[in-house]
Amino acid sequence: MKRLLFRTSIIALMLLSGCTERGQDAYVEDLAMVSSIAFDYIDEKTVKMTVSIPHPTSESQDVTQHYSVDTELIQEGFVQISSKADKMVILNQLRTLLFSEEFAREGQVTEIIKHFYRNPKVGNNVQLGIVKGSAEEILKSEFPDKPSTDTYLYDLLSPKLHTAFSPFTTMHDFLYTETNPIFYSMVPYLELEKDSVKIESIALFDSGKMIATIAEKESSYIQALKGVVKLAPLEISFGEHNAEEQVHIELIKSKAKITSNKNMVSPKVKLQLNLQGALFEYKGKRDLEKTGEYKALEKEVSKQVKKEIEQLLAQLQKLEVDPIGISEEFRMYYKGKWTEELTKKIIQNVEYDVQVEFKLLNTGILK
């Protein structure tokens, strides 16, 4: 009897739990999941925040909702948006954060990213992008041939081989490079074209402020020196006026080795880069069937890459930034706390010795 009573009460408890009133819980249909947020600069205190919320089950024509508010505090902005939206606004599905160039140059990006990094609802793999002109505009623009702007932006900023020159900065990456005295942040720089968005170049940051942009190819070299194995295809022209010969190389493997002389007073760094690739296109006068010419081309490409890397390093030295993280080679052997001043000192005084070795693995299956 006792056992029967026990069992019935257990079953009753299980069934009855369905009758509880739970006001706070919301169903998926009642949630507005923010997918992308764009930030535009208004003045020192105020920021224009635009959120985009995809609505898969929406009955209206537009599948994406947009809300814009001017606000001083981010969380306050969400409260304002919630009062406009028909559903509960949540951040669990946040994928992309866009900042206008002006906003980034004013140096407020770090603060905003820290805000989202703190929020346990937001994952760390949120992609970042800097936008030429207005960030709101990109979010609100429509691309009729793409499923939705949100997924398009997210896919664009996700790692792919042909855009491997881009650092694909996530929220974690940005905070890592911003808070690490060795590194300088790099974020993809986007530009709105007629019916698409393009990763135009890469924005460089120094102490939280965007200072310059660097071109695709240079960024590709930076990625190579940082030790990325799979790189974007490389186009190199050389000869007189850099126009005599042109090659298009799909890079198969790259290997970088950076060694320092561990001397803080007169720092010297040796950068060795090994590239292996397949030749896809060649314009020039060489007869590549001859082994000698083939070898000569390899040498020529190595020389050109070396020259370009040296130019890039000089340019970075002039800007006093070091996105490659060369100072890490000195920090590893330095006793004491490493500071940004030490990094700056290294950048100013360092002497580079660049060595590039390029190897052609194949030229396709035609003779």
Partner: protein, 360 residues
């Protein structure tokens, strides 16, 4: 049949008991606790392991001298009934506060990460039901649960590979980049993570192969240290020093780095699975507290367990002043360090006593 009165623990039970009671909520924040020494922290778990193993020697020695007695019994034997009972009462109070601090720490984390739109009363209640269920059947039941939870949770270590591939191995150098003050601060905070192996003093009488207990317990310690080492190493590689200092649960954020096409937010999965580690740690201490009350009252009763659980439940759910609670939970770890050195003192007393008896 009285399961408590016979020897029930095999060698592997001891290995997993030691290992699982050690891993509690401290692992989640270990890289943060060790952050005063910055990047040099990655090898600290090895040092802690060596310390723990050294401290294990007097524990096993004193336990083997009195192989039929738990630490409560040893106290009463060495110091007489009154002093022994006083020390035992202190240990019970200590176990209760430690339990409350572990439970509350974990549930707060759950509240922040997984259930931020609810209160924790419900989960807390279910947690306690499970806790009582595990501790109810004695130390063997806890040991079995330890084995199960080890295999249910440790596979999560695989998810560290994402952090490992993204990180920079160069951060591991230089090895000794800290001052003495930083070293002491990190050790003081981080040594909490290895607390838990001393529970062997209480379940030693239940071990079948007591002569091999030292070896088995050492295996347990080093399995645990291996888990710690992998997390600190990956954290050092993946984070900047600022992040190590400021991210409260670096291990959770490491799981956050995982990119799988079919599953997002591994960290929420990890934090909910972590309940197994918390359950084993708390169940062992609950069992210790229950044994303590048994020894003081001179009888074994199930109701002791329920009363202790109720006290802890009330401690967590009653609105005590936050500052007081925080202070209490932080101070309790000093008692833990004391308890770890305590067996050395006991050894001396035992040694003197043995000599005296030998002379007589």
């Amino acid at each position: 049949m009285h399961i408590h009165q016979s020897k029930t623990l095999n060698g592997y039970h001891v290995v997993f008991l030691v290992q699982n009671v050690m891993i509690g909520s401290a692992l989640l924040s270990l890289p943060n606790l060790l952050s005063p020494v910055g990047y040099s922290q990655w090898w600290f778990p090895i040092m802690f392991g060596a310390f723990a193993n050294l401290l294990l020697i007097p524990m096993i020695w004193i336990a083997r001298q009195n192989h039929e007695l738990t630490l409560f019994g040893i106290h009463q034997k060495l110091f007489g009934k009154w002093v022994g009972t006083c020390i035992n009462t202190a240990i019970i109070v200590y176990a209760i506060i430690l339990l409350a601090s572990v439970c509350e720490g974990y549930l707060e984390l759950i509240q922040v990460v997984a259930l931020s739109d609810r209160t924790i009363t419900g989960p807390l209640f279910i947690f306690f039901l499970l806790l009582i269920y595990i501790a109810n059947n004695g130390i063997k039941s806890i040991a079995r649960f330890c084995i199960a939870s080890f295999f249910l949770v440790t596979w999560l270590l695989y998810f560290l590979t994402w952090g490992f591939t993204e990180g920079d191995i160069g951060h591991t150098l230089p090895l000794f980049n800290f001052t003495r003050e930083e070293f002491l601060a990190a050790t003081q905070k981080g040594f909490i993570s290895v607390v838990g192996f001393e529970v062997i003093l209480f379940y030693f009488p239940y071990i079948i192969q007591q002569e091999k207990a030292f070896r088995h317990a050492s295996y347990g310690i080093w399995i645990c240290i291996l888990c710690y080492l992998s997390t600190t190493l990956v954290s050092v590689m993946y984070y900047s020093q600022w992040q190590l200092e400021n991210v409260m649960y670096p291990v959770l954020y490491l799981f956050n780095a995982v990119k799988l096409s079919f599953l997002e937010r591994i960290d929420v999965l990890a934090i909910t699975l972590w309940v197994f580690f918390i359950l084993t740690t708390t169940a062992a201490y609950l069992w210790v507290a229950k044994k303590g009350v048994d020894s003081i009252r001179g009888m074994e009763k199930k109701s002791h367990l329920y009363i202790i659980a109720l006290i802890i439940y009330l401690m967590i759910s009653l609105p005590l002043p936050k500052e007081f609670q925080k202070e209490l939970y932080e101070r309790i770890y000093y008692v833990t360090y004391g308890l770890m050195i305590w067996p050395i003192f006991l050894c001396v007393v035992q040694f003197v006593k043995n000599k005296k008896e030998g002379i007589q």
